[in-house]
């Protein structure tokens, strides 16, 4: 094993981490962006409760979030048991569990960023779009979203990065199973805990830095390209 090539085990960790982070980000993307829009634009009863609920995973210790998920979706729980009996869906010791854990902890970051981005869009532009015959959906897709896009893209990158960094909730809820739930931080922790594992932990650390940098570069690219691409949607 040279310094510049990854071992099979490392490839596995890397692949799993990216899969989990991508899956979680895609899972929360539509709901998170829409939620951000609603919070930026609407006053409604129970708004505070909704905001608290969304932001809870941001301020709670991740381990507590994991435990909460276990109570809600674990095999012994009402919902989790039902899901397993009816659909055969299992979260614990499964990649799906890692995805759910990552999704829950990164959700508030996406919502917050999207809310901020939509708040920066002049609501009168939406009114103008409506008087031009655009319904709510088209107004959102052709005006609000493109104008909020830089902020929303930043939120997506932030959420993705948070998924990659997930440790506590995943450990408690999904477990630490090689090939299924052992994403990068868990693998790093494992290596560090094992005798003579410091070298391996350091390799994973470097990998971690590389992925994080790539995510940031991708975010900048997404911002620029997306602005142009979505700009065209409005004319169709």
């Amino acid at each position: 094993m040279s310094a510049f090539t990854l071992s099979a085990a490392e490839w596995e960790v890397l692949g799993l981490s990216v899969k989990v982070a991508l899956g979680a980000t895609l899972l929360i993307l539509p709901v998170g962006v829409f939620m951000g829009y609603i919070l930026a634009r609407r006053e409604f009863r129970g708004r505070t409760a909704v905001e608290i609920l969304i932001n809870l995973p941001l301020v709670m210790p991740p381990v507590a979030t994991g435990l909460l998920l276990l109570l809600l979706l674990g095999r012994e729980s009402l919902v989790g048991g039902w899901l397993e009996r009816v659909f055969g869906v299992r979260f614990v010791f499964d990649m799906k569990g890692a995805v759910v854990a990552a999704a829950v902890v990164s959700f508030p970051l996406l919502v917050k960023a999207a809310q901020l981005a939509f708040s920066g869009v002049d609501p009168r532009l939406e009114g103008a779009a409506r008087t031009l015959g655009a319904g709510r959906a088209r107004t959102f897709l052709a005006v609000s979203l493109p104008l909020a896009w830089p902020g929303v893209a930043a939120g997506i990158v932030l959420a993705f990065a948070r998924c990659l960094g997930e440790f506590g909730a995943t450990m408690v809820f999904a477990g630490n199973v090689a090939g299924r739930t052992r994403i990068l931080p868990l693998a790093m922790y494992n290596a560090y805990q094992s005798p003579d594992g410091m070298g391996e932990a350091t390799r994973l650390l470097v990998l971690s830095v590389l992925i994080a940098s790539a995510a940031l570069v991708a975010g900048t690219w997404l911002d620029r390209r997306g602005k142009k691409r979505l700009g065209r949607v409005g004319a169709s």
């Binding site: 002049d122 009168r124 532009l125 009114g127 103008a128 779009a129 409506r130 008087t131 031009l132 015959g133 655009a134 319904g135 052709a142 005006v143 493109p146 104008l147 602005k227 979505l230 700009g231 065209r232 409005g234 004319a235």
Partner: protein, 353 residues
Amino acid sequence: MTVLEVELKHRYDSGFELDVAMSMNAGRCALFGPSGSGKTSILKAIAGLLRSDHARIVVAGEIVDGDGLRRAPERRGVGFVFQDHLLFPHLTVEKNLVFGRPRTAKMRDEAFFRRVVGALDLGDLLRRRPHELSGGQSQRVALGRAILSRPRILLMDEPLASLDRALKRRVLDHLDRVTEEFDIPLLFVSHAQGDVLRLADEIVSLDDGRVVGQGPTAEVLEQEEREGRLNPLNLVEVTDVIEEKGVWRGRMGDQWVFFSTPPAPAGRPTYIRFGASDVTLARTRPDGLSIRNCIPARVERIVEPEGGGMVFVALEAGGRIWSEITPKARDELGLVPGAEVFCLLKTAALRTF
């Protein structure tokens, strides 16, 4: 035909109360009144952008608000040109223009698009972005965008406010052109008497959330003048304009009038605007004066504002001219309806509009 009927009641958190009932019959109608009188709120309510306590709004014979029905803004057929235009900053001018274009009948639309672009001189701007436009250009784009959405009525919020004289003339010119060519009724908000006199066929006059007068422009303004809310303003159209030694002269009735600023481009009407206090009256044609304009006229009537002060004399001189004089001058000159006088006007005081 009645273009628009509006009944509106709304109480704001600030305590301001809007309670209006108005109708619009003519092609160009002004919502006229001081700022804070609720003009913009009425436009917003018509467009469906303001949820009011009570509304009954009928556009071209069709109820869009009222009777338990409240149509969404996109289903009202009401075009809106906002005071700050609200172009979509992420779209080019061309994409802004076609944003509201109906999705069907593409073939006919292409020709219509070219007509609108032509009428508003937008051809050179199509590829630009909104931030690259001047205020006047951006207003034209907003106007074109609204027209291309094929509205049944066009609303404009203060289209003539804060424009310099040259720009205002171009805007008026474009407004003339599009309302004539595309035959769209226009309801616009204005607080400036001169603008209303020039552009509107009909006025709804507002004060503090209430309608204080509505009807044909001249009648409503005159009523306001009589009630002392407004001082008369002169606006006359001149034709056959020619330049002469750095000043211009144009025909008003069978009289020539000299004025000091350039006329409208060929083919467009030229209006001259001056205050009632710029008009001096004489019973006989004076001699040896520097004043170039000496126009024979007949006194139509004399208006004394409630509460006294200066009196206003309405004169027929091939066009209506108002003169503001003291009660004492009226008595000394023996001015009564039917009296023949001469209106003396300094060329420098007459400016095109």
